[in-house]
Amino acid sequence: MSRRRADVTPVLTFIPLLGLAALCIVPLLWLIFAPTKTDAQIVADAPLSFGTLSGYADAWGNLLSFQDGIILRWLWNSVWYSSAIVVGAVIVCLAAGYALATAPVPFRRTILVVTLIGMIVPAAALVLPLFLEISALGLMNSPFAFILPSLFFPFGVYLAFLHFSGNIPPEILNAARIDGAGEWRVLWSVALPLSKSLIGMLAFFSFVASWVNFFLPFLVLNKSEAYPLSLGLQALMANTPALNPAAGGSFIPIHRPEVALAGILAIVPVAIVFLFSQRYLARGILTGSIKD
């Protein structure tokens, strides 16, 4: 391979990559600038123009005026639902993945296949069974109606299985067992310290999944005080002239700048969590499947 060629390659690589990055960023910039403008300016001014900083404060004030600041309640709900789901789902996935990978669980192959299958079941099949169960359990409108079902996370179980079966040498675990450690102790003191990147990934994916989940809360939560942000924002949109001027009869001061601000609010936590877990994510998700 010639030297000259090696110098050209990075440039050729960078152009498409940066171009695509620009395509990803432009809509975000638009979203970030939108609340600085008035509704009329969003339509009339250049798409990527900046209004005034006080636009954020105005838009925030208007959002808070919707039902006495219920958006704060939704935000708080989302935070604690998602936190509970992340903690719960990580524990469940670790335990299940570890058991599948290391213990002589009966029907292991079947269970694994079923877990994989769990990732491709269409949602429409589950609407009624899910609803009837939650209803029969008396959990309707309770946060647990959302949290408990979210704890089962087949993608995470599969990731954990790949990790424990591929990345952790069985000799280490066996050594611990010979030293007299119980199965839980082996998991806790030997396997887990070797699984930080796995935990990072599980946390990230379960957080994103629960934060943006709309369908499940839609099915089981019927009180606005119990809504997470995803559901609340949809109710807010449907009830304001923001995107639907035909919803005649509303004088609520929520228009496109306010919706944009609400959208930013919904994205920021995902971006933050991503930044925190990125160093784990970059390590690779399916490394196990390649090495085994």
Partner: protein, 431 residues
Amino acid sequence: MHSPARSTRTAMIAAALVAPLALSACAGSPSQEQTESDPTAPVVVWTDSTRQPGFEAYAAAHPDVDLEITVYKPAELISKVQLFNASGSGWPDVVFAPAQGADPYYEWAASLDDKIDADTLEGFGTANRPCEFNGKTYCLVNDVSQMVLWYNADLMAQFGYEVPTTWDEYADLGKRVAKEHPGYLIGSAGSSFMYHSFFRAAGCPLQDVTGENEVHIDATDPNCVAVAEMLDELIAAGVVSNLDLWSPELTTLAQEGKVLMHPGASWFGEFVFRPEASWAFGEGTLAAAAYPKWSGADEAYSANAGGGTYIVSKHAANLDAAVDIATWMATSSEYQATAPTYPAYTPVLGEWGERISADPFYAEDPMPVLAEAVDLINPINDYTVRYDVETAFGTVIVPVATSGGSIADALPKLQEELKNLAQSVGYTVVD
């Protein structure tokens, strides 16, 4: 969305943490209709945010009734009712919703004829028709969106045009405008709203209820063809725009003052013509005229583009209070006089109209025209059906119109779509 995170959607499967219980739920018997009203039971209210202050005012005035108010998305009501029906519990007691939700087909709304006195019901005139199914009343209409011919009074005077009183005159005026003042618009037909403003008003039978679960649909009826041909001709002449009513392009044209007139609902004045971000008409330019008369029709009919309604659940524990709340919302002047939309209940109209009549935004008081139009809703399409004609227009007609095709040629396809839709929700279709 091909993403790993997406796969977690299926995490819902986990419903299953307690699988066997669900089976017992299937076997559970649905709860019976309430026969006795429990005055201490709380009343669960679902509303949109616009009606929320009304319910709160009721709660403040009636401290003995315990209201639990949730702001929801009214379009979701039927989905939820289907789920509640399946599980036999969970229904809200009073809702603000489209009239469709009251259809006895969904076995949920309480019939109100024996619960509300006849005088009150009469106060609605014909405006409560969307709530009548098989001759019985299942809900109370909150507001009417009758059509009027909105026009720019300054421009009309400047051009020296008379406001048309028939659709033939409207079409003739369109041809004059095309010649004398090209670029000016007398309407638009690029969104599914054209169903209401043109086809529904003209009596084109697309939701003509003829009996219990029986509906007459004929998109190739002469009434339909006449309207379609008129629109095709005016669109070709460039005086009726085929842009979406809410599109930025039409908004820009309107802001440049190119809208000479536009047939539209009663709420267009406040929500289309007035806002800065919308068509931004200047003070004292907008006026309303009676809807033009369709050739062959006995009256100058318009259509009701659909208002909200109050529905009471027949499962409500505190049924008396639930009925009282719904009645109060729909008929009391305490609430209706302050409501932003045109009230269906006539006795409160005088008080409601004072603000509009005094508003300098209008070139002349639109109230007399609005009040007249409300009694002239074309009865052919005024009863509620379970399929959505507007959506069908969006699927079949709008793409044809916006891409410059012939609306008249697309009518047979509309017929097929509507017939299929109606049958899928349990109607017998009469051609």
